[in-house]
Symmetry: C2
Subunit: 236 residues, 2 copies
Amino acid sequence: MPQLRQSALRNRLLAALTAEDFARLAPHLAETPMTIRECVITSDQPIAHAYFLEDGLVSLIADTREGRVEIGLVGREGMIGVPLLLGTDRTPHNAMVQADGTALRIAAAELCAALDASAALRGVLGRYVQTLIVQVGQTVYANADYNIEARLARWILMTQDRLGRDELPITHDFMAMMLGVRRPGVTTALHILEGTRLIQAKRGRVIVLDRAGLMDFASDSYGPAEAEYERLFGEG
Amino acid sequence: MPQLRQSALRNRLLAALTAEDFARLAPHLAETPMTIRECVITSDQPIAHAYFLEDGLVSLIADTREGRVEIGLVGREGMIGVPLLLGTDRTPHNAMVQADGTALRIAAAELCAALDASAALRGVLGRYVQTLIVQVGQTVYANADYNIEARLARWILMTQDRLGRDELPITHDFMAMMLGVRRPGVTTALHILEGTRLIQAKRGRVIVLDRAGLMDFASDSYGPAEAEYERLFGEG
DNA sequence: CGCGTCCAGTACGATTCCGGACAAAGGCGC
DNA sequence: GCGCCTTTGTCCGGAATCGTACTGGACGCG
């Protein structure tokens, strides 16, 4: 495979590694396409690879017999396969692709070997786990204290952050599942956001018009998790 | 301080350590009382110590200007100070004591040194982080898909697990804050649980009468997180 | 033993959101 | 251009929960 140049990567975790750590991982990283609705990790199944996203969007989903909810969102700021960092090869959650993209993936064994060899690598990826915990915690808070419109604004902002574009390829149905609400509830909430010109909704996509306005609308449901990421990776 | 014997400890994480890892930590562990409403970790402040709980209950709380919600619950099955494991010395969350108890605490620097020295220690504590992520994820799910009574049943079960007693020293006000609902909502929900003889409510405490019945009531909101803990620590 | 404080119980209108159903419209394949 | 499937828009009654306020009882303290 072609030589990977660290500076050419979009993944913020790989970019934050020391040159030495990157050199350790690079030989094992393979570019992999991700297509929508694909499950890159399936609940309670062995995790064969970790994925460093270059583009696209993946949801971490808790689903049981009686329903499913999104608990976390990962884009090129993060990675899929956190349980591997934490000493286990499986998890009850699913990781499902929400927007097409590509990832650099590495076999579980290679990642674990690199982790054992480098405290600096453990530090970078550990800090990512911290940001993920804060993100999930923020989701608990948002679901408890905010109405659908605010949570939708938060979700749109998070998605925009991770995709790095203003046009988000998302249907109402998907957003409803992610937020754990009824689909018509999303339709109505989108109309409200559209009415104040914060977004423009088209069939199958949402276009962000006024990011600052969305942040106002989302209030404290958006922000803390993002601040934690910037604190830990902002300089990197 | 007196010699600590690993087999005499109630904390399940310390009990799960190898003898070698325990010996590494033991000289630095100091028994510390925890009193109700004390914040053992304050948001965005440096974390000086990690706490391995021997008894008592601590909540992880996300609070902002506009509200606070519990995102996780820790007892003798766990530890406080997870960010230290993940390469940072602070977090936006608070850790507040909900029931008096004691903990064995260790200075951050000593813990980090031990982590650097032992892959096995990293494994045990990393797996605890995994169980914590699943617990928080389960809270997202419970808040999205279950009514107050079921969530209350879940919370009572989790508290009972962690305290190891049937009598839980908890006021309605506290439960309301933890679940992110109104206080009278808790009163009503408790009456429903009491009506079916699952619990008995007294002033300032709840007594579990029928644990199996509570599990039925909580349905899928309770279980997955606990199964994950047993999978990772069940034999230990 | 009496007072003050914390805690539990109750009420009620307002509001959000659900559950389910159905109709319109966009867009793709043929 | 036609038909079909997906997606979106809309409607309704009903349930859950909220916000707020007030009452009465339990407990601790002096």
